[in-house]
């Protein structure tokens, strides 16, 4: 007797039932590779399978837009900088090639051009009756990287004064820039032929074969560009640079406090994105053999943004998917839907339905996508998953033998390089005024090397402000900060990290969406050197540095025993509160500091956790660190500090061993308040 329909298993089809167990045979990583392999094969075979020239052309355009989306993804997705004028760089790349390889610019010939003619970049052109002119025909393959660099240059030039602006204001100035560029293009017809468009742009040629007007070679070129830039994006994402960008995106202030030079990295992101767009511009204009300003206006910037938002900000595969979906929509789906609507219109006799052209509604769909995605799925279709490479066998062995209290942290420069005599930290008359309020007033403080000093005092007494002044998050109104004898007053946070000052924050500033391991790796940023190029190429030096960084990160995490090590690939926001506090300390340790400033490290911890951390802080001193901590749990302060400094109303009112200070009249009065006059 057959089973009732409702009881049968849910395999949708005979094929699905057969393939499913097969798919589950493969481990996740291999499954991924197979999927990518199949997709690549399909992409390569595409023009052979499809005969419609229009479809291949649309696919080639889709490749161009996918590259744009990848480029914007670096700016918006990785680094968190909203750029609403991205099409400007697209335009720059296009017009640079357009001017360098077309009949647009034809200055009069002179001998000065001869060397360029020998290089094959220009040639002398003769027209009857007029003096000879220069014909520019720089090779497409040469211009591809050159215009990318030129676009990057514009990006960085624009970025220098503007990247310090807050998110939505940065978006507005980029919008402005994105509008100015096509207008300038339109208004300088001598260079660009204005609204009529560049003419006679020379298509690329490979080994004597000119690409001409057939779409297929452009499609393969586009596909190659997409593949290249997917590769570059993935490499960047999983590198020191990528982590620094994510840190900036998560919490800029904390990123700076962990040693990241924010200005340089933002410029790098902005410039890289611009370079991608510039290269695409060159490709696109070579394919169309013309360029008009209309091709580069605000709607184009929005379209690329929609691709990124739809696919997933920060997700490399996601934005490629987003680009593909939008191109499919625009070129095929909407046409088909229009035809169905026409048919329906004929059926029901609706004139409007018969005339509707849904392809025109693509921009409406963009708007709807933006709103729906922001409201309901901000992470996009394929969220940027934080994949952390699992520990390999060697690393697992390393982790198992270390750990727990008392582990020695190698390479933490304890004695090495310490100039004799100078205290670790010294402030002289350090002050900070806000309007009329003196948050910190004339603090003279000395912290000897290897000391653990507690900073205590009632609410609002200036302790955190003092920390901010010492770590560069705030600029003093007066006085000096000396670190190991050198004047570091007012230096930017990342420079102080390089010198060896690290800190944690009162209100926890972890990079919530990054994993435990990644948070700590960000701490290593200041001690590593890999740049963007190294990140992409991964020569042995870079790989060695990355391995060393990971080893160091694991050592640092091992200080907290088995609290954090089992959770390496968990996002930081998923940890318990106490573990988040520990992670922040680990992250600060990763910067290899000499001086560690802890701002209320035990806040929110129960007594047992507090005791454990107090012991760990003690052992950090054994490993060579000097520690300054703000702490409210005065029993902790009593136990572990060598001495305490008491703040009240921005001034130092007492200093000495905790046991003594506790009985100081002024201190008691600061905490408990002055007794009433007629009490």
């Amino acid at each position: 007797m057959s089973r009732p329909v409702a009881d049968q298993p849910l395999h949708r089809s005979w094929l699905g039932a057969r393939l499913k167990p097969l798919a589950l045979l493969l481990p996740a990583a291999a499954r991924r590779r197979v999927a990518i392999g199949l997709a690549t094969a399909a992409a390569v075979a595409f023009p052979l399978l499809v005969s419609d020239e229009g479809d291949i052309d649309a696919a080639a355009n889709a490749c161009a837009f996918a590259v744009l989306a990848l480029g914007l993804n670096i700016v918006v997705g990785f680094a968190g900088l909203l750029d609403l004028g991205y099409a400007a760089f697209f335009a720059i790349g296009a017009y640079v090639y357009g001017m360098a390889a077309s009949w647009q610019l034809t200055p009069p010939w002179s001998e000065a051009w001869q060397p360029l003619a020998w290089l094959g970049l220009v040639s002398r052109f003769h027209v009857e009756g007029v003096p000879d002119v220069v014909h520019f025909h720089v090779s497409f393959w040469l211009m591809l990287p050159v215009s990318a660099l030129i676009a990057a240059g514009f990006g960085m030039l624009f970025g220098v004064p503007t990247l310090r602006l807050k998110g939505d204001y940065l978006a507005i100035v980029t919008l402005g820039f994105g509008e100015i560029v096509p207008i300038v293009a339109r208004n300088t017809p001598s260079l660009t032929n204005g609204a009529m468009g560049l003419n006679g742009v020379i298509p690329p040629s490979l080994f004597g074969y000119s690409f001409g007007v057939e779409s297929t070679p452009y499609y393969y070129l586009g596909l190659a560009l997409v593949a290249l830039l997917i590769f570059v994006s993935l490499r960047l994402q999983d590198s020191r640079i990528g982590r620094a960008w994510m840190a900036i995106r998560e919490d800029e202030v904390a990123a700076g406090a962990m040693g990241i030079n924010r200005t340089r990295l933002k410029l790098l992101a902005f410039g890289s994105g611009a370079a991608f767009a510039g290269a695409t511009g060159t490709f696109y204009v070579a394919k169309l053999q013309t360029a008009t300003p209309e091709m580069f206006m605000f709607p184009v910037s929005v379209m690329v943004l929609v691709m990124v938002v739809l696919g997933g900000m920060g997700s490399v595969w996601g934005v490629v998917l987003g680009a593909a979906i939008l191109q499919l929509l625009q070129s095929w789906f909407l046409q088909d839907l229009s035809e169905w609507a026409h048919a329906l219109g004929r059926l029901v006799g609706s004139a409007w339905l018969q005339d509707v052209q849904l392809a025109q509604s693509i921009e409406l769909i963009f708007g709807v996508i933006l709103v729906i995605m922001m409201l309901y799925r901000r992470q996009g279709l394929i969220p940027a998953g934080r994949r952390v490479r699992a520990l390999d066998a060697r690393e697992q062995a390393v982790a198992a033998t270390r750990g727990g209290i008392g582990a020695r942290l190698s390479l933490l420069d304890g004695e090495a390089g310490l100039p004799t005599g100078a205290p670790m930290l010294e402030t002289r008359g350090l002050s900070r005024r806000y309007g009329g309020v003196r948050a910190v007033n004339g603090i003279d403080l000395t912290v000897p090397a290897h000391a653990i000093i507690g900073l205590i005092g009632p609410n609002g007494s200036g302790k955190t402000t003092f920390f901010n002044l010492v770590t560069g998050l705030d600029t003093p109104s007066g006085g000096q900060v000396l670190f190991l004898g050198a004047d570091v007053t007012g230096l930017a946070p990342h420079l102080l990290v390089e010198r060896g000052i690290a800190r944690t924050f009162q209100n926890l500033r972890l990079f919530g969406n990054m994993t435990v391991l990644e948070n700590v790796l960000v701490g290593v940023h200041a001690r590593t050197r890999t740049g963007a190029l190294g990140a992409v190429l991964r020569p042995p030096r870079v790989r060695a540095e990355e391995a060393e960084a990971r080893d160091w990160a694991l050592e640092v995490l091992a200080v907290f025993g088995n609290r954090l090590l089992p959770r390496l690939d968990h996002p930081a926001h998923s940890l318990s509160y106490a573990n988040r506090r520990r992670l922040e300390i680990a992250r600060a340790l990763a910067t290899r500091p000499r001086l560690l400033l802890l701002d209320e490290p035990t806040a929110g911890m129960n007594p047992a956790e507090t005791l454990e951390l107090a012991d760990q802080i003690h052992s950090l001193r054994e490993m060579g660190l000097t520690i300054l901590l703000i702490e409210h749990k005065l029993d902790v302060v009593n136990d572990i500090t060598d001495k305490v400094v008491v703040f009240d109303h921005g001034e130092k009112i007492a200093e000495g061993p905790a046991a003594v200070v506790r009985h100081n009249e002024d201190v008691i009065r600061a905490y408990l308040g002055r007794a009433a006059a007629a009490a």
Binding site: L165, K166, E179
Partner: protein, 309 residues
Amino acid sequence: MSFGDILLQQVINGLSLGAMYALLALGFTLVYGIIELINFAHFNVFMMGSFFAMWVLQLLGVEGQSTVLTGWPLAGALILALAGTMLGSGVLGVVIERLALRPMRNVRGTAAMITTIGVSYILFNIILLTIGADTQNFPNPMPVVRWHLGGAVLDLREVLLWSASLVLMALLHLFVRHSRMGKAMQATAQDQEAARMMGVDVDRIVLLAFFIGSALAGAAGLVFGLYYNFTSFLIGYTAGLRAFTAAVLGGIGSIGGAVLGGFAIGLIESIGGQLLAVRWTDVIIFSILIAILVFRPTGLLGRMAPQKS
């Protein structure tokens, strides 16, 4: 025409444009002052407001520029159109806030602004797809009465538009400075949590700000139509850019700044368009915008510096 005449004419034009930009900038800055949101959709609410006004006038039987009214019928028609567009735009603004923006209120970063870009696109394309891309002849019942000041021409409609705009601005000022809800709005803009502790319903204040701001945008839409005798789906974009720059120039979040900025940009546009070619006006205005944000982000009168928080 002598140079003086040309200048005077451009000043007259500039003041008319300025009045319109001031109204637009006011609505925009009102919302920004309370929730610190750059609302792109505002400028397409303005565009829709001009369509609302157009439809009201068409319903009243005004055809193009051929129906001319005077005296009470004129006043009545204009007041009805103003009321219609202010009400319609205000409601539109409230709907947008409620559906698309309130859920984004606590999301940090630029997500809310991106949502407003989406809404802006939706409004823009709804008009494009239903009404079409053609410019619409705007029904204008105002008689053509001109005065000659030397070589320059001053039109009655310009005087009417200035007056109407100034009245609206004065009413807004009175409301914000002297009414109970207006003061609650100020309080909310200055310290939202303290306002809540005084018993202010912050959600309602935000709705009110959106309603008033959008209503002003609608009024600006009517001004546009009466001034230019046309409207189209594109007007939000061009006027929006200028109004936005005006708000930033005057100091974002500052009501006086929006008015000052609006008139300044109007004058810059008309005089600048005279001195340089018109096709460079957009570039000039965008450059002003960028320059202010880079060099003096608080603008002329504002206090909310858009630096990194």
